[in-house]
């Protein structure tokens, strides 16, 4: 909360300062990206220079991906990288409107990387960060680029960086009933791709635990669909519980101690919570309708879910601590509302909407106000929040060059700008964006 306040303060501060270049359109919630210069880190030989270029690319991509920064072209730089590292000529950088500047030095010794990097505030003419990272094996250059990006991001925005986060999803091969699905995990930017299951059993909807160490997902085994848990390190898998009906649509609670999910009985789908420590479960909804896609609020006191109790599917919020009250409907627009996900900031709920054969990814405030559709596409579904609550990942079906339907992942800034594909080696669906992992 303090950090969010800090960010708001920071944005307002910059907004007041016309020199800074950051503007907020209050009505639309759009943020003009802040121009920033990422200067190639100094190096002594070709190998070091190679790493310098690769690290520079990753840092630039990370900052650009946030939607908050505009990466200035190297061609516009007036000062050389060697000079900059010692002391930037602030007036030169102000000429090209750089608000911040990143420079550094890279050394390789015994296949270990050592990086010294600096972050400068050009308008305040101040060195903000001057840090060393050492003892990194060469093969971990990508991780170190993400760590540097995190530190820069944290120092500019006051928010925790998320560039070392992972995404789990369903990797798909083939078509139709013969399609094989495997759980897969990768870095948030699509690198370090790994497959987690063998494809024998149909798997869907993997979701991270809050510590990023486990996932919960739906798996079909022996003609039964059930919720399973997997430890990502050991790959050990176990069933959540031997329920009579189909268990599906699982999510972890914010403290990681509970799983909320849907369970079918006599054709109905109701919401249950399984306590992993006490090995107990309790029922949250109890009616003859479809109640599914439950998702906890960040403080764990409420849930949002989709239900067709009023005919069409709508989103409802219900308290799940102390005395449960009646679920409160928050969507009243046309069409069906499904798959809600509560922002880690608590402000927005993202959802999938279908109306007149079109699909949308949308946002609504938890009080039901301010509905906004930010992306449209055939069969778009499965939104998931970035850890800073500023970007969503989701999947949709798009045509490839042979006019074939392909399921792909996309990310979009919550302002509705900057939609772009998150490239995966296979077709992909059901992304879940994991937490920042401590380093």
């Amino acid at each position: 909360m303090k950090k969010i306040l800090l960010l708001i303060f920071y944005i307002i501060n910059i907004y007041v300062n016309p020199l800074s270049g950051l503007e907020i359109d209050v009505t639309e919630g759009k943020i003009e990206p802040l121009p920033i210069a990422v200067v190639k880190f100094n190096s002594q030989d070709a190998t070091e220079e190679d790493y310098s270029l690769k690290i520079n690319t990753i840092i630039s991509n990370n900052l650009r991906n946030t939607g908050l920064f505009k990466i200035l072209s190297e061609k516009s730089f007036l000062q050389s990288e060697n000079e900059v590292f010692l002391q930037p000529l602030f007036s030169d950088w102000r000429l090209i409107d750089a608000n911040f500047l990143i420079s550094g030095e890279i050394f390789i010794n015994n296949r270990l990387l050592k990086i010294n990097f600096k972050l400068w505030d050009i308008y305040q003419e101040k060195l903000v960060v001057n840090k060393n990272i050492s003892g990194i094996s060469e093969s971990d250059w990508r991780t170190s680029s993400h760590i540097i990006s995190n530190i820069i991001y944290e120092n500019i925005t006051g928010e925790k960086g998320y560039f070392d986060t992972k995404v789990v999803y369903v990797a798909e091969e083939g078509d139709g009933a013969e399609k094989s699905r495997k759980l897969a995990i990768m870095d948030y930017d699509g690198n370090n791709h790994k497959i987690l299951t063998d494809g024998k059993d149909l798997v869907l909807t993997p979701r991270f635990s809050p510590d990023g160490k486990n996932i919960v997902f739906l798996q079909y085994k022996n003609n039964k669909a059930s919720v399973y848990l997997m430890n990502l390190k050991s790959k050990n898998t176990k069933i959540l519980g031997n329920y009579l009906g189909m268990s599906f649509a699982p999510r972890f609670s914010p403290n990681g101690k509970k799983i909320i999910f849907s369970l079918t009985s006599r054709g109905q789908s109701n919401i249950f919570i399984q306590d992993l420590e006490k090995n107990k479960n309790f029922q949250v909804t109890n009616n003859k309708y479809i109640n599914t896609s439950p998702y906890f609020s960040p403080n764990g006191k409420k849930i949002v879910f989709s239900s067709d109790r009023a005919g069409k599917q709508n989103l409802y919020i219900k308290k799940v601590v102390n005395n449960f009250k009646k679920a409160e409907r928050i969507t009243y627009g046309k069409g069906n509302y499904a798959t809600p996900v509560w922002s880690p900031r608590g402000d927005y709920i993202a959802f999938t909407k279908s109306y007149k054969k079109k699909f949308y990814i949308g946002l609504i405030k938890a009080n039901g106000k301010g509905e906004r559709l930010i992306s449209e596409g055939y069969l778009a579904d499965g939104p998931t929040w970035s850890p800073n609550g500023r970007t969503l990942a989701f999947y949709k079906i798009v045509k490839d060059q042979n006019n074939q339907n392909k399921s792909k992942l996309f990310t979009i800034d919550i302002t509705g700008n900057l939609e772009k594909e998150l490239v995966t080696p296979y077709q992909a669906s059901d992304p879940d964006w994991g937490p920042s992992i401590k380093y």
Binding site: G176, K179, L202, M246, T264, G267, S269, Q313, T339, L379
Partner: protein, 185 residues
């Protein structure tokens, strides 16, 4: 009457199967057969010598034929009913299909079945899982109301994950909004 007809047909198929077995499979040696079929016939094979392997082969062949016959019969009866968009009550023409299914199940008391509920692509994944379950259950309840024991019927939903047709038009979506009765093996 129905049963007698079926058994006559079965006997005919057994005779035909053993004929084709004799004519077609002569070049295959006993050793080859054992190595190929070890999963199905192990108990029989362990007690029998190679001359009797053929007998066990025929037995498994017949058993398979019987399963095949039942599967074919169910398809003839009508193994699936269809639904309107976002509906979980099957279309009216399904009533006759399910009456025939119920008769088939009442005539074959040792069979258990599962009903697989499916949806077309135009829905979200988790909602469609729930909708497929509802469809499968509506078929199960109808069969139970016609006298089929509840314990013989299980339901499973595949949502929109196993479409029958991949085309994007109303005809193929209609095919995909279905509940299919499948014999458990």
């Amino acid at each position: 009457m129905f049963l007698i007809k079926k058994y006559l047909y079965l006997i005919l198929v057994i005779v035909l199967a053993s004929c084709t077995e004799n004519t077609k499979n002569i070049p295959i040696t006993g050793a080859d057969v054992t190595s190929d079929n070890n999963s199905e016939d192990t108990t029989i094979k362990n007690q029998d010598d190679s001359s009797e392997i053929k007998v066990s082969d025929n037995a498994s062949e017949n058993k398979k034929s019987m399963e095949e016959i039942l599967i074919e019969e169910l398809i003839e009866v009508g193994d699936r009913v269809f639904f309107d968009y976002d509906e979980s009550r099957f279309k009216n023409e399904g009533v006759e299909t399910l009456k025939r299914q119920a008769r088939f199940l009442l005539n074959n008391k040792d069979l258990t079945v599962r009903i697989e509920g499916h949806c077309d692509q135009r829905g979200t994944r988790e909602y469609n899982l729930a909708l497929g379950e509802r469809r499968a259950f509506s078929v199960k309840s109808f069969l139970v109301s016609l006298g089929v024991e509840e314990s013989r019927i299980s339901v499973i939903s595949y949502g929109k994950e196993k479409p029958q047709s991949l085309n994007e038009n109303e005809a193929s979506w209609a095919q995909n909004r279905t509940a299919i009765t499948v014999i458990n093996q």
